[in-house]
């Protein structure tokens, strides 16, 4: 199940920051990982991911750089743009993680987590992204 756009707007950037906190990644890799790791809940197309990455880049949370891909394509070597988390991005991720934990606790207390989002709850999203956990 894909989550609502408004919810995605809040969760998507945190999810991307979290993934990049583990290691630098390029766009396609991010898309694939998000879909796979969240059971499709945070799967996003390029039309969502790249604007999000550019925004995070504009805000200084991530930085992108081009480097030659380790694998060679049929057309020879291919370049990819990799993204990595900046110090500012790490700080932001820590702040966002705390907020998400507070939201999750509040939702749990209200019993919303088990009713409103039966399959992919915010708890599972949080769990999947290991928010708050050490990488």
């Amino acid at each position: 199940m894909k989550i609502e756009r408004e919810l995605m707007r809040g969760a998507g950037p945190v999810a991307v920051l979290k993934l990049l906190n583990r290691r630098e990644m390029y766009g396609y890799e991010l898309v694939e990982t998000l879909a796979e790791r969240t059971d499709g809940a945070l799967a996003m197309g390029q039309s969502t991911l790249y604007p999000m990455l550019y925004n995070l880049e504009a805000q200084g949370f991530v930085e992108g750089y081009w480097k030659e891909a380790g694998t060679k394509g049929a057309d020879g070597s291919r370049d990819r743009k990799y993204y990595r988390l900046t110090d500012k991005g790490k700080t932001r991720l820590a702040e966002d993680s705390k907020q998400w934990e507070a939201v999750i606790r509040a939702m749990k207390a209200l019993g919303v987590a088990s009713l409103a989002i039966p399959r992919v709850s915010l708890v599972s999203v949080s769990s999947a992204l290991r928010i708050g956990a050490n990488p």
Partner: protein, 598 residues
């Protein structure tokens, strides 16, 4: 974190050329659509293109179908919008500051344009409401004058009776052509025009002028007669279109009668010379009285210009009267002296010699034709006002430049410039100041009203121009009246001195002996408010003012006519070279003209 080799990193400024051209057409189209819609800088587009192309290439390499990649991409248009927004956010602070400044400027320009549009619309929608017929107001007092008391019809007869004296192709001793003799300014003219002069004397006996201003028949009549006297052969048949009257503003009022009336004054002075030569005491007396009455009748129209013409005519007759009493007092009878005194009293006193109320009426007429009317005496300038202002500037000879900028500024001037009410208050204030200033004795006045200060703040065709263009020279008119009234007082004293001499056999030792039997009060010197200076010299006397230098030079005359210029202009700095002379009323001396320079 996966380490990466710095050598493998490619800088932002050196974005690799990963082209979408190597992608299958469906994917390439998506990239191209996104890029086209982003409207980003070329370097930004190259970056986005490379990344999207790399993304699709990765997808294909991982085994995803083209259809799946297309489906997963999402809406290219939405992506383009979001990418554009994000990329713009990434641009430098300087660029953002520049964009903000540009947006502020463009916004301000837009706001100004919209505001100007609204102001212009309001301006061009404004129309004046004409509620007063100022011409009728001016002519209303004339309508009640009985025909039998009107001098103007007789002056018209006199004009049609004037003939040229006949010397039209004369030459001087060296054979050079002489200009034709003026019927009004030569003794020959006076001699040839005794019939007209008799009519002038008759007209002078009537109590009123009775001239309706702006009468088109009068306009045609006067111009036709002047054409005749200018030896225009077609004078009887030539087309003389009278200026339109109906609906025309008061500033277009023409006063053509002032030309013949002033000429009549000169003609009468020529006839005095003729009568003196002929020792015709009655004619001398009749002409002088007729000329004085003519100056008074001329003032019937309440305009400042008529007052100034009247003053000029009065100056002419005062000079002649002083001349006659200096050289040929025997030609002046006792009765004539009384008549002269009475006529001179009628020509004053000073505060009434210049009037400003008609100027205010004319200004009100301008306002009602130029501004909207909110029924409360206020309003804003209209396009009709701008047209009138342009016309007034041509009329006044200033010819204000009406360029595109000026026209564009008119709506702004209409909205933010002075309103109808404030302009009127300004004009009324100037009129009142001038009236008060005029009412004060000249020697005790404070600084004059300064309309020039107002003129300094005027812009072409701004509503202030109504004042600067239409404000007559109030101060100069008052100076002219001051001068005339001093001269008039001096002439009354000269008459009284002659009456004293006739009674007592000699002139008095001091002027004070004339009061009250021969003179109601002592004539005062414009220089200091003291009685005019009087010195008994043998059997005659000298009567003079200190003159513009305000020093008593004992009645010393300037040596030449040009040296005398400025002696009686008390309100302006006098040339040091002219500082040692006085303004002498008696005896009359015809100052020689300057010797031509070798």
């Amino acid at each position: 974190m996966t380490p990466y080799s710095p050598r493998a990193v490619i800088s932002h400024s050196d974005v690799p050329a990963v082209s979408a051209s190597t992608l299958p057409p469906q994917l390439r189209q998506i990239v191209e659509r996104v890029l086209k819609r982003t409207r980003l800088w070329p370097s930004e587009r190259a970056d986005v293109e490379s990344e999207l192309a790399a993304h699709f290439a990765d997808g294909l390499a991982s085994g995803a179908s083209i259809e799946k990649l297309v489906e997963d991409f999402g809406d290219p248009a939405a992506a383009a919008g979001l990418i554009r927004r994000a990329k713009i956010r990434s641009r430098s602070r300087a660029w953002h500051a520049q964009r903000m400044a540009r947006n502020v400027i463009l916004g301000a320009i837009g706001l100004l344009a919209v505001s100007y549009g609204a102001i212009a619309l309001r301006y061009y929608a404004g129309t004046p409401t004409i509620t007063r017929d100022v011409r009728k107001e001016f002519n209303a007092p004339i309508a009640s004058i009985p025909q039998s008391q009107r001098a103007w019809p007789i002056y018209k007869l006199a004009l049609s009776a004037v003939v040229n004296p006949g010397r039209e192709k004369a030459t001087d001793e060296s054979g050079r052509g002489l200009p034709p003799l003026s019927p009004f300014e030569s003794i020959e003219g006076a001699s040839a025009n005794q019939r007209a002069i008799a009519l002038l004397r008759r007209a002078a006996a009537l109590p009123k002028l009775g001239l309706e201003i702006d009468d088109p028949e009068d306009y045609v009549f006067i111009n036709r007669q002047l054409a005749r006297l200018n030896a225009d052969k077609d004078w009887e048949t030539k087309e003389i279109p009278a200026p339109p009257r109906e609906g025309e503003p008061a500033i277009s009022i023409v006063l053509p009668h002032l030309v013949p009336l002033r000429s009549f004054s000169r003609l009468l002075m020529q006839d005095v010379d003729l009568a003196v030569k002929a020792a015709d005491a009655q004619a001398v007396s009749d002409d002088l009285v007729a000329a004085m009455r003519l100056a008074v009748l001329t003032r019937e129209s309440p305009f400042l210009i008529t007052d100034l013409v009247s003053l000029a005519m009065g100056e002419l007759v005062l000079r002649k009267l002083q001349e006659v009493l200096t050289f040929t007092p025997a030609l002046v009878t006792d009765n004539a002296l009384k008549q002269f005194s009475a006529a001179l009293v009628d020509m004053g006193p000073r505060p009434q010699l210049v009037r400003f109320d008609a100027e205010l009426q004319s200004f009100d007429d301008i306002l009602q034709r130029s501004f909207t009317d909110d029924r409360n005496g206020d309003g804003r300038m209209t396009p009709a006002g701008a047209r009138l202002l342009t016309r007034a500037s041509q009329f006044s000879g200033t010819n204000q430049v009406v360029d595109v900028g000026t026209v564009a500024a008119l709506p702004i001037a209409s909205t933010f410039g002075p309103s109808r009410k404030s302009l009127r208050q300004m004009y009324v204030s100037l009129v009142e100041q001038s009236k008060q200033w005029n009412a004060q004795p000249p020697w005790s006045r404070s600084a004059p009203p300064d309309p020039d200060a107002l003129k300094a703040q005027t812009l072409p065709l701004s509503p202030y121009s109504f004042i600067s263009l239409l404000l007559p020279a109030f101060n100069n008119s008052i100076y002219a009246a001051d001068k005339f009234d001093t001269d008039r007082g001096a002439t009354l004293a000269i008459i009284a001195l002659e009456q004293y001499r006739r009674k007592h056999g000699a002139f008095p030792a001091s002027l004070s002996e004339l009061v009250p039997s021969f003179l109601s009060s002592l004539p005062l010197d414009l220089a200091d408010g003291q009685p005019l200076r009087y010195k008994l010299i043998g059997k005659s006397f000298v009567l003079y003012s200190l003159g513009a230098d305000r020093n008593d030079n004992g009645g010393t005359l300037p040596p030449t006519a040009s040296a005398a210029v400025g002696i009686s202009n008390f309100h302006f700095p006098i040339d040091a070279a002219k500082a040692n002379y006085d303004w002498v009323f008696f005896p009359f001396v015809q100052l020689p003209k300057d010797e031509p320079k070798p």
